[in-house]
Symmetry: C2
Subunit: 238 residues, 2 copies
């Protein structure tokens, strides 16, 4: 118990494995939308688990919108077009490809969000963004890396889009990437002196948003993100 990597060593529960199997069967097209699943009793017998476990597994699918259940009638496979919930799970965040793909999506979302922010930001949005910019400068002056302020700055920008989907997705991806950096940084030497460069890029982004120049804002965000990705790549340079 010297090093508890409590991430993947957790034994998969019976319900989880069963849910995974059922999900695969649905994805494999062995069951078509609108069709009824076997009864809980039948699944229970077929897979050798108890009914509560089956219920738990089906509950997950129901929660993800893959099936809908009607008491007394059964469980039915939902229409894929009516799917109302999207699930994005990052299984292995130590995987290099996985991180690269996430960063790529993050860049796409954040660059567009910056463009939209420049296009429709109100005065109060602009003030909020500037406040975070100043807060980051203050952190730098105090000699701190200012990761929280950095995040808050980007957060203020995506907030200015007024689109909650942008906000939530960007928030998730940002957290994910930063968490990866934080864990990877443990075995690397601390990199210093770059924060001022980051701040300069932030300033450029802010200026474009202030000027209400969407195309310029996108360009500024793209260079910032490209540079950030390059700095990031130092961590998994193999």
């Amino acid at each position: 118990m010297t090093q508890s990597h409590d991430f993947l060593d957790r034994a998969p529960s019976l319900a989880d494995t069963l849910a995974h199997k059922l999900r695969q069967e649905i994805a494999a097209g062995r069951m078509r939308p609108g069709e009824r699943l076997p009864t809980e009793q039948q699944i229970s017998e077929r897979y050798g688990v108890s009914r509560p476990t089956v219920r738990e597994a089906i509950g997950r699918l129901k929660h993800d919108g893959l099936v809908v259940t009607r008491q007394g009638a059964g469980a039915f496979i939902a229409e894929p077009g009516a799917l109302a919930v999207f699930r994005l799970d990052v299984e292995d965040f130590t995987n290099r490809d996985e991180i690269r793909n996430i960063v790529e999506l993050l860049m796409a979302v954040e660059a567009t969000a910056t463009e939209l922010a420049a296009q429709r930001r109100g005065e109060e949005d602009l003030a909020a963004i500037q406040a975070q910019l100043d807060a980051m400068q203050a952190a730098i002056d105090r000699g701190e890396p200012g990761v929280d302020e950095d995040m808050a700055f980007h957060r203020a920008i995506v907030d200015a889009t007024g689109n909650p989907f942008f906000r939530d997705l960007s928030d998730f991806l940002d957290r994910r990437v930063r968490h990866f950096i934080r864990t990877a940084r443990a075995n690397t030497a601390r990199m210093g002196g770059l924060t001022q460069a980051v701040q300069a890029e932030h300033q450029a982004i802010f200026d474009m948003i202030a000027k209400a120049d969407p195309a310029g804002a996108r360009r500024a965000a793209e260079t910032h993100l490209r540079n950030a990705a390059e700095r990031l790549s130092l961590y998994f340079a193999k």
Copy 2:
């Protein structure tokens, strides 16, 4: 609000409502990351439901990555940075704002995907895209609207990015929007003669991808998406 809001407003199950309550308590910050939740027994007594129901509710949160459970120890609130699953649920797809926000996100993802596709598509990717383009032309020649072919065309493009996150997200958003159109179209007159215009825009996108011109591909995709959004806006022009 996570329960299915489909045609019938069926009574939300006890587990669902309980899960929702717990989720709110966590979101309200009444419980902090790393903290332990009350035991299943305690929750059971406090909310007046049985332990299996509590288990089901906690199972939902566990599935969403909000809590992690350790047998013998208890259930703990997960670190938000370690969040490995992102959940995007579209609660009300008849809401105009909701649709607009979704379309906006779709445009961001698809435009960037098209840019990436132009940048890194292989010959086989290009062939697949062209095949879908031809299939759509064939559908038009047969006098069909070719919605499936249209979707397959875009699908082939996002596939060429090689990024599964782009593929999945784009797929979900695309399905969502098209489903909305399909349901809204019922009370509107069918609009005809535009499919050929769509096809021309598709052709422009394909040409840019074939030329391996990322910037051009993005521009072509953006105009196509902007036009598509304009056509779409006819549906909820109120």
